[in-house]
């Protein structure tokens, strides 16, 4: 394991929390400068990404991002690409300067990520309900090829509306897959309403358990708890793992938190300033 491998990086909880705040500030600013929506959905999953990429949970070396034995991360809720790109740049997969091109004409940093456009982007996303199935295929390939990697798929709660999610959920345990993790950013909103009301989503943990998964409820903004759950994969049960990360849409900015208008709204310059002030990153 090289020093540059993400699994070798060790930070104190306070440092990780500071990284989260800094990233949230960058993401709010990016939404403004790039004129990109889905800010609320991007802010709810920041701590999940920080736990994964800075918490020592991933066996990926950003300096050797195509190693066959690397862990794979799929952002299935592709509309949170601002968070994904920001963490990839932050951890050295590509230059932070590239973030300035996000959503600009000709950029590879598109509003929804494209496989292989840049290192660290393992699958194309944007249409919901594809990532888990692709992740299952990858996990299966790892088992067949005797490569010891794990696959981490980050989904949204609204994404669980898609039938294909449950097709994959039923097949993975039947294939005795244990190198597959789904992390659900359960921010309780989808585009037009409460995710628990539009479809009968709850009890979500029990749903995954009944489909044959090891399922855990976790505070999706408690980085230490997230790291604890994410660092024990496979978890010894012989099953794939579902982590229900309970989050707040727009987390970190008081006037955005749990306000679904920020699914589509783009902050103006003044709102960016207020947000960064609140985050302590101005």
């Amino acid at each position: 394991m090289t020093d540059s491998n993400l699994s070798s990086r060790i930070f104190k909880t306070k440092e990780l929390e500071d990284i989260s705040k800094r990233m949230r500030g960058e993401i709010v600013e990016l939404s403004h400068t790039a004129d990109a929506m889905h800010l609320g959905s991007s802010l709810s999953c920041v701590d999940i990404f920080v736990a994964l990429y800075y918490g020592g949970c991933l066996n990926i070396d950003p300096k050797n991002p195509h190693s066959e034995s690397r862990d794979r991360v799929i952002l299935s809720k592709g509309h949170a690409s601002m968070t994904f790109y920001t963490i990839l740049a932050d951890t050295g997969f590509f230059s932070k300067d590239l973030l300035k091109t996000f959503n600009k004409t000709g950029s590879h940093l598109t509003e929804h990520p494209n496989m292989g456009a840049l290192p660290g982007i393992e699958a194309t996303a944007g249409s919901l309900g594809h990532g888990l199935s692709m992740g299952l295929g990858m996990a299966l390939a790892g088992q067949i090829r005797h490569l010891p990697f794990r696959v981490f798929v980050i989904m949204s709660d609204g994404e669980c509306n898609e039938g294909s999610v449950w097709e994959a959920a039923m097949l993975a345990p039947a294939q005795k897959i244990e190198n597959l993790v789904v992390i659900i950013d359960f921010n309780r909103w989808q585009a037009t309403g409460r995710s628990e009301e539009i479809m009968a989503l709850n009890p979500l943990k029990e749903k995954w358990e009944s489909f044959g998964w090891s399922a855990y409820d976790v505070d999706g903004h408690d980085i230490s708890s997230l790291i604890k759950s994410l660092s024990a994969i496979p978890d010894g049960s012989g099953k794939p793992v579902a982590i229900i990360a309970h989050t707040i849409k727009g987390k970190g900015v008081s006037f955005m938190e749990d306000d679904n208008n920020w699914h589509y709204r783009i902050p103006n310059a003044e709102e960016v300033k207020f947000a960064k002030e609140e985050l302590g990153v101005l």
């Binding site: 066959e68 794979r72 494209n114 496989m115 393992e122 699958a123 194309t124 944007g126 249409s127 309900g129 594809h130 199935s133 692709m134 992740g135 299952l136 295929g137 990858m138 996990a139 299966l140 390939a141 790892g142 088992q143 067949i144 090829r145 490569l147 039938g163 294909s164 097709e167 994959a168 039923m170 097949l171 039947a174 294939q175």
Partner: protein, 309 residues
């Protein structure tokens, strides 16, 4: 055709450990030999085609060469968006085997037979569309599909189709095969209706009409060289397919013809009508209904030929 696929795939899996077969809960005992030899590379994905296609994409991203197999109504139309995004947009080497193209499963109704698959799949960037004409061409198609770096759709029939080729032909994706030469009319056809084209040719011969039969086993990419040659040599060109007249081989040829042909040539397109069948009907009866039996093909060509001469 399906047995040829099973045998060819078993041979392929023996020589290439990247090969993996995903089935959608069909093929009872057909893959026993394959499954016994390569248990870890045989996945019954259940009746869940959307997941099966995306999963194949994930396998391909990680170095495997997946083959997907189920009824073509299910592994094309049902999961079209997964094919579009995960296979075509990502441009991954996944082969979709579509069992029962055209009117093969007409007795099972429009849920199981499909005459729109070529239209939807050839509209997708990066997709290769193959319609082998017999079991020998099925084997060739699979071998050639393995050489591709992107997605391939192979439309096959079911079982006991007539074998057209006496020996393995020179088979190259995007290169049509001239099965029979002729002087008066050229029949361009594709897939399992090929034997009917050959029978129609015999019937036309009795009426002193000499027909050439060219098999376009590849619909995408179209063999433009052969099309140019055919349209420069014949005044009457007929497209024949067990597929809707909307979007299939006939459409592809007509599109090319409108954009490129410099000669006055009569193009006659034979295929299925823009409708569903609501009552029980068997494949040959349905073919006859749509004018795709050898007799009706010959008659349509005869009438058209007489109009021109």
């Amino acid at each position: 055709m399906r047995s040829a696929f099973a045998q060819e795939l078993a041979d392929l899996a023996a020589s290439d450990e990247r090969v993996i077969l995903l089935i959608g809960d069909i093929g009872n005992h057909m893959f026993d030999d394959y499954q016994e030899k390569f248990p870890s590379r045989f996945i019954n994905c259940g009746i869940a085609e959307a997941n099966m296609v995306s999963m194949a994409a994930g396998l391909a991203i990680c170095g495997m060469r997946p083959f997907i197999y189920t009824f073509t109504a299910f592994d094309t139309a049902r999961c079209f968006e997964q094919i579009r995004v995960d296979l075509c947009y990502q441009n991954l080497p996944v082969v979709i085997l579509g069992l029962g193209g055209g009117l093969t499963y007409a007795p099972l109704g429009p849920t199981h037979y499909i005459c729109e698959d070529i239209a939807i799949l050839r509209s997708l960037p990066n997709m290769t569309v193959l319609c082998p004409g017999d079991a020998i061409e099925v084997r060739c198609s699979i071998k050639e599909a393995m050489k591709q770096n992107g997605p391939v759709y192979i439309r096959i029939g079911k079982k006991n189709e007539p074998v057209v080729h006496k020996e393995t032909p020179e088979f190259q994706i995007g290169k049509a095969i001239t099965c029979k030469s002729g002087n008066d009319v050229c029949i361009i056809t594709t897939g399992t209706i090929l034997p009917n084209a050959l029978k129609a040719r015999e019937l036309l011969e009795r009426k002193k009409i000499s027909a050439q039969v060219v098999h376009f086993h590849t619909i995408k990419p179209l063999d433009l060289t052969t099309l140019s040659t055919v349209f420069s040599q014949f005044d009457l060109v007929v497209t024949l397919e067990e597929h809707s007249l909307i979007g299939g081989l006939g459409s592809a040829v007509a599109e090319w013809f409108v954009d490129n042909s410099t000669r006055r040539v009569k193009l006659l397109r034979l295929g299925t009508r823009d409708e569903f069948l609501y009552t029980t009907i068997h494949q040959n009866e349905a073919r006859d209904l749509y004018g795709l039996s050898p007799e009706k093909i010959a008659e349509a060509i005869h009438v058209q030929y007489r109009k021109l001469h």
